[in-house]
């Protein structure tokens, strides 16, 4: 029995570790690469702590512009989607209860339709409208921001509607009736009674809509026109190879998310605590009382730690200069590379010599030579320039089949890094 439960506990622990690694591993790894100096995002080998990628990010006009566009589009998408979603939810729950099922299907459809289709159809539809209205080709209906907002809202409004429907199902229509009975007009009843009740849902729908808009790619890629959003910019960048400024951006986003989540959680807990103790809510929502929070509130502690670490990192970055360390590493790298090159050249010479000596007997010699080559190559550190085309060229003329053999042993890390090519090349 005891071993059984122990086994289960170990298994469970293992599963949890696996689960969280799967969930958070990529984020953590990416955050680490933001502080590593190599110009391709990599966590190992760790070279030098650097903050330059944040600088690079800040100075990357396209990224900054993308963020700006994303915010503008997100803002308008939130407004449009929340209004449409609210209207849909009201119709669904209150106006025609009989056609509810049909209506629900229609409204929910945009969520199920692939974003690509929505993007194309938005483009086509508004182009038609443009033609029908007889507007010029560069009219406002071809504006990338407008089109993107319209396209994204088609399905984000559905998300919002789901949020509102969930809230509205808990709304007592009797409250609206009571307001009407007391002399309120329909508008007054909605504004003074129902809207305040929906306020939390409007908040969450807005956040949801903004996030959905911010991360959208499928639909936006067809509609952005002259206003590429952040996701569009990132996708275009990846095509030409990326550098850790992307990681820096990711790190910032992760931090902001965690911060907001924690703040939200702390607030929630305090309100709940207050309600449980029967205190008026107003007493808790105003003013931050430090010592009281920390009592039995681990989230607040985590939040405080988080803020402290952030402050420490930022202030450290103020005077920390990675340049000397980087220079040292660069020199080490150069030396290592020089050594490798020399070694290769020596080997090449040996081989030529042997070849000349033994003549046409390639089969035997070739077989015995290749493993040797392999051995030596494995000893070289990861991220070396083995795969850079220059190296290949150097080896190729001598041995007939050396290239395929070492491939499996080498890391992928630097293969796709275009900057590696540049780095090695000038040294020849």
């Amino acid at each position: 029995m005891k071993t059984d439960s122990l086994l289960i506990r170990i298994g469970l622990g293992f599963y949890l570790v696996l689960f969280f690694t799967y969930l958070l591993g990529p984020l953590v790894l990416m955050s680490i690469t933001a502080f590593n100096s190599p110009s391709f995002p990599q966590a190992t080998p760790w070279e030098v702590l650097t903050f330059e990628w944040f600088n690079v990010l800040y100075n990357d006009a396209r990224i900054v512009n993308g963020i700006k566009n994303s915010f503008i589009i997100g803002f308008f998408t939130v407004i449009l989607s929340v209004i449409m979603g609210l209207a849909g939810a009201l119709v669904l729950t209150q106006i025609w209860p009989k056609i509810r099922a049909t209506f629900y299907t229609i409204i929910i459809a945009p969520i199920l339709i692939p974003g690509v289709v929505l993007g194309i159809s938005t483009l086509v539809f508004w182009d038609r409208v443009n033609v029908m209205l007889g507007l010029p080709n560069d009219s406002f209906l071809h504006n990338g921001i407008l089109l993107t907002v319209l396209g994204q809202s088609t399905f984000i409004a559905s998300y919002c509607m789901l949020v509102f429907v969930a809230r509205l199902q808990r709304y007592d229509l009797g409250l609206t009736e009571a307001a009407l009975d007391l002399g309120a007009t329909h508008t007054q009843a909605f504004r003074k009674i129902q809207l305040p009740f929906l306020a939390p849902a409007i908040g969450s729908a807005s956040v949801l809509a903004f996030l959905a808009s911010f991360e959208n790619y499928n639909t936006t890629t067809f509609t952005f026109g002259k206003y590429p959003t952040l996701t569009i910019e990132l996708a275009q960048k990846v095509r030409y190879g990326i550098n850790p400024s992307i990681s820096a951006l990711a790190f910032i986003i992760v931090c902001l998310t965690v911060l907001f989540a924690l703040v939200h959680e702390v607030r929630n807990r305090r309100v709940q605590l207050a309600i449980a103790n029967g205190a008026p809510v107003g007493a808790v929502t105003s003013g931050f009382k430090l010592p009281k929070i920390f009592a039995g509130n681990p989230v607040a502690v985590v939040l405080a730690l988080f803020v402290a670490v952030a402050v420490a990192v930022i202030s450290y970055a103020q005077f920390y200069d990675p340049e000397p360390a980087k220079a040292i590493i660069l020199q080490e790298k150069r030396a290592a590379q020089q050594l490798r090159i020399e070694e290769l050249q020596r080997k090449l010479k040996d081989k030529r010599l042997q070849k000349n000596l033994k003549g046409p007997d390639i089969f035997n010699e070739g077989k015995s030579k290749i493993p040797k080559l392999e051995e030596k190559k494995q000893k070289t550190p990861f991220g070396s320039g083995i795969f850079s085309p220059n190296n290949l060229n150097k080896v190729a003329p001598g041995a007939e089949t050396p290239a395929p053999a070492p491939k499996p042993a080498s890391p992928f890390g630097s293969v796709f890094d275009p900057t590696n090519l540049n780095k090695v090349a000038p040294k020849e």
Partner: protein, 370 residues
Amino acid sequence: MSEGVGVDLENVWIRFGDFVAVREANVQINGGEFFSFLGPSGCGKTTILRAVSGFLEPSDGNVLIGGNNMAGFGPNERPTALIFQNLALFPLMKVWENIAFSMEVRGASAGERRKRADELLDMIALSGQGDKLPSELSGGQKQRVAIARALCAEPDVLLLDEPLSALDLKLRQHMRSELREIQKRVGITFIYITHDQGEALTMSDSVAVMKAGIIDQIADGKSIYDDPATAFVASFVGENNVFRGKVKSVSKDSAIIETNRTGNLRARISSDNQGKLKVGDDAMMFIRPEALDISTNDTSSDTRIKARVTHSEFEGQSYHVFLEGTEGKEMKMSLINRGEDRMYERGKELYLDFDANQAVALPAGELASE
């Protein structure tokens, strides 16, 4: 009393599709009256109230308030205020904001509203609690806030939909008298809905008893209890011993009923049915438990029943004796506790007397299921 605003229902029908919720309702409610609708669950009480307050239009007939036809006027245009079955206090507003909501929508300033709300809070004995949220009040306090909120709108007619049903017995009894007192003070018409007959009888000037969409009787509480118009009313309001049978002979205001199992019994014909009962008709006779008494006489008579005790209960103010007639007819007799021991043992034979004026003969009809 005539200064208040009256409410008239003229031949009102309310249908939901094929379902008739209210059938041919004709009601005159005088200004300043405390009028109750009493009936079992689902009989259409709320529906009538919604028709008066304007949340639904009658399918047929008219609703008149103060003599004016209300057709086409919405709930916010009628001089009524409704207290909902579940109160419907606005949960996000403070108590005083709740109370003064009707002034807020009319554009009154915050100062005015607060002043009026404080006056009303005084009236409902909740002074100083205006800044609480409704969720921070007790059930009875919420109740009073709902009343204050409705009164703040200065309606001519206050409609109350089972406002006390959620309260416990003690509080309910307390609120009954409080409501009655408020009504006397403000002098407006109250239309009160309940399925609790005690509530209806104690508070009302007039009671309408409803059964499945039909109003069976409209009268003051005493008439409803002592002089029911239908078998349903007789069985729904208070307790009654029912004897089924046929009319054997009939005079102007009394009849002899040949009951199925208890022999011939004499009863007064209820005033609504005088002249309608004919010899040979199916009839029902009702005798209240408290109208039965133990007889010292054992000669047979048409106001005397022979029965055997099955068991007795003591309930403080009275004893309840359960009996069985000669052919197994079950009966209940209630005797006021005057200090004698009335715990009769099982099997004891008794003769029960009643006053023919306290027994009511009615045409046979549907009984309340309870």
